[in-house]
């Protein structure tokens, strides 16, 4: 009886605490019973937008050496432009490191950019680029989150835009899918 009462009090406390913090929301059950349903929004192929199948809007950003890059110019003479949204975290680093060693060498005709959306200035971004060891990759600085918001990106979002401007991939970094998308171009 004593044990049952103790357990009961503990459970009530735990569940109460979880409820107060919103911890027992639908996300919890999403993970306990994950879905494989495709919930990406339907889009009209060829329309302007940032989802797969849409034509990417043009953009211009400066890199960490203050050189401007415009998407439409970059697409000329390349098989694809790949952009990766980084916040210089360990997970981002593992993605960028994998992309640098396993993906980039196999696709010399594609152009790869990291997009720094957290540093807020070119000088800070340059510092992060160097301290994290990515001086050999071009880093675009999204100081006002224009690109981040336009692509509805988050940490690790990887975009592939083919030479005609069509978005071929827009999701979290996935090395095998990135390779497959680039190989198909």
């Amino acid at each position: 009886m004593y044990y049952a009462r103790t357990i009961g009090i503990a459970l009530v406390f735990i569940l109460g605490l979880a409820g107060c913090g919103g911890g027992l929301d639908t996300d919890v059950f999403d993970d306990m019973n994950p879905s494989g349903e495709d919930k990406r929004p339907a889009v009209v192929a060829g329309s302007e937008g940032t989802q797969v199948g849409q034509v990417s809007p043009d953009f211009t950003l400066q890199d960490t050496l203050s050189v401007s890059h415009t998407l439409s110019n970059e697409l000329a003479g390349t098989s694809a432009v790949v952009i990766y949204f980084t916040m210089w975290c360990p997970i981002c680093d593992s993605h960028m490191s994998n992309m640098r060693t396993d993906i980039i060498p196999d696709f010399p005709n594609a152009t790869f950019y990291l997009v720094d959306y957290v540093s807020g200035s070119i000088s800070v971004s340059r510092s992060e680029q160097l301290s994290n060891g990515y001086s050999n990759l071009d880093v675009l600085v999204d100081t006002d989150l224009t690109l981040y918001n336009r692509y509805q990106a988050s940490m690790g979002t990887t975009i592939v835009i083919d030479s005609t401007g069509v978005v071929r991939m827009n999701e979290d970094y996935n090395n095998s899918r990135l390779r497959a998308v680039l190989s198909a171009l």
Binding site: G21, D31, P34, S94
Partner: protein, 316 residues
């Protein structure tokens, strides 16, 4: 930096809280032999201090970063039979992070752990003096654990890794724990091997993706602990322990293809002070777990210090 998944990987080294042959481990909540149940509560305060990259090189977090995670862990263990015990551990997690202009103040339930342990011995294995070879036989525990993804994971509606409180995967672990006390000294070895179950993914960091199946790599944990127990005048005890842990996860798979980006390693050291009262039914613990902010002490993982304050109450 945070990845607050770090919390999900985090572990407290085995803490032998001066209760003979099984004072409890925060990671597996093992109770003493002669007891019917145990309640455990602890608070973890984890402070992030840079990270190791995939090559093992250490990097500092950006200037101005302040990454923390607090966890309140509730545990309950219950004896099922003379050699069998089961337990449940449920953490509640608060993320408090400032990182390069990003603020995260999220909270929620973490991943729940269910444990079942078999004790491969009947009598007390702690001795004061070695009189024959049988006195050298350690207490051996065999355990199975199931991690249930009750936390908020990267596959939920979150913006980044700062917001998560769980890993998002079921995991089954097999554990062997050997413990030997020859007063005042104690030594233990914990070996644990875990396998994640494959899951469907249709969303990552809040963004819906083309569905795929993901499986994380197998997980291996080894912890070595050496402790010394001092007896106070009233026969209460203070135990001092030092531990070394090595945690490793192999590369995972996405749709059957290798995904090396989740492969990681972490080495850490821990120091623990535990006080147990004369009856050994109340144990108070403090642990400092430290990872070296230097090259070569880990791969693809955050560097953290974890301070843990806990109390266990044994019901006989």
């Amino acid at each position: 930096m945070a990845l607050l998944g770090g919390a999900i990987f985090s572990f407290s080294p085995t803490v032998w809280a001066a209760s003979c042959c099984g004072g409890g481990s925060a990671s597996s909540l093992i109770m003493p032999k002669i007891s019917e149940a145990m309640i455990d509560a602890s608070v973890d305060m984890e402070f992030y201090n840079g990270y190791w990259d995939a090559d093992g090189n250490y990097h500092e977090d950006p200037q101005g970063s302040d990454l923390r995670q607090y966890r309140l862990n509730f545990g309950y263990a219950h004896r099922l039979a003379s050699r069998w015990q089961a337990s449940v551990i449920l953490p509640y997690v608060w993320n408090r992070s400032e990182y390069a202009g990003i603020s995260s103040n999220t909270e929620g339930v973490g991943d729940t752990t269910l444990n079942l342990f078999y004790e491969a011995f009947d009598g007390i294995k702690c001795v004061w003096k070695v009189r024959n070879w049988e006195d050298l036989i350690p207490a051996v525990y065999y355990g199975m654990s199931l991690t249930v993804p009750t936390g908020i994971s990267p596959y939920d509606d979150v913006d980044n890794s700062f917001d998560v409180t769980g890993r998002g995967f079921y995991r089954v672990d097999g554990t062997v724990l050997l413990d030997k006390t020859i007063y005042p000294w104690n030594a233990s070895l914990l070996l644990s091997y875990g396998k994640y179950l494959e899951r469907d993914v249709n969303r990552k960091y809040g963004q819906y993706v083309e569905p795929y199946k993901q499986q994380l790599g197998d997980r291996f944990l080894q912890t070595y602990t050496l402790g010394y127990t001092s007896f106070l005048e009233n026969m209460s005890t203070v135990t001092y322990s030092l531990a070394y842990s090595y945690l490793q996860e192999e590369a995972g798979e996405i749709d059957g293809q290798p995904d090396p980006t989740t492969k990681m390693e972490k080495q850490s050291h821990a120091a623990t002070v535990a006080y147990a009262n004369m009856n050994r039914d109340w144990v108070f613990k403090f642990t400092w777990s430290h990872a070296q902010a230097k090259d070569g002490w880990g791969k693809n993982f955050p560097v953290t210090d974890v301070y843990t304050i806990g109390v266990s109450h044994v019901l006989r």
